[in-house]
Subunit: 98 residues, 2 copies
DNA sequence: AATTTGTACTTTAATTTATAAAGTACTTTA
DNA sequence: TAAAGTACTTTATAAATTAAAGTACAAATT
């Protein structure tokens, strides 16, 4: 491959908000909903929808528990997610550095 | 800035197909419709719609003429497009290399 | 010479995606 | 106890993407 074919980029990852979520998650081991929402500057609804998409394809896993009687959802990137992200970055850079 | 805010990425450029078009155009001085379509592996309709979007915001300019009695449209990246692309790349890399 | 096939696109319509708004199930504060 | 959060989820609308159909030819075939 190694050309300008735009379909080589994983479109689950490519969306701006999901790319930001993934970039954050690879840099951080684990993060909860509120933390991600603030870093990524997303609305509640948006974050919920998009992180769910990442969960559906198993790029991200979540853990729900209660802390001080309040719900807290913690997210982690999975091994699959890590690999997909790496592949994405590789293809992106070889698309961009011509 | 310099954080994970996903809105920092120019969404006109960010779309997969438009990103590929821009990446191609910055590397090539000028290119015609068919050439771009093949490199980017887009359908006619898709390319037409998306390159038009890039034209509308003046990131790309076009020149239409006839070669051997057939229409040929040649595209070039503009100065504005060049700047926008550079900014996009900068923000992208600082989003990604954490 | 008429029909078919092909080229270089553009337009329209349908599907998908993204976003914002509203809703749920609480907890905390006044 | 009523109002104002918190941590999300769901739903509805708007926007973007894609595929299919259309236009205006040229070239090749019958």
């Amino acid at each position: 491959m190694s050309d300008f074919d735009y379909k080589q980029l994983d479109d689950i990852i490519h969306s701006r908000i999901r790319l930001a979520i993934m970039a954050l998650l690879v840099s951080v081991d684990s993060a909860n909903f509120v933390y991600i929402r603030e870093k990524v500057k997303a609305s509640d609804g948006n974050l919920s929808v998009h992180i769910r998409k990442l969960e559906n394809v198993k790029y991200v896993s979540s853990n729900k528990k209660f802390v001080d009687r309040k719900p807290v959802t913690t997210y982690k990137i999975t091994l699959l997610g890590h690999k997909a992200f790496e592949t994405y970055i590789n293809r992106l850079s070889n698309l961009l550095d011509k």
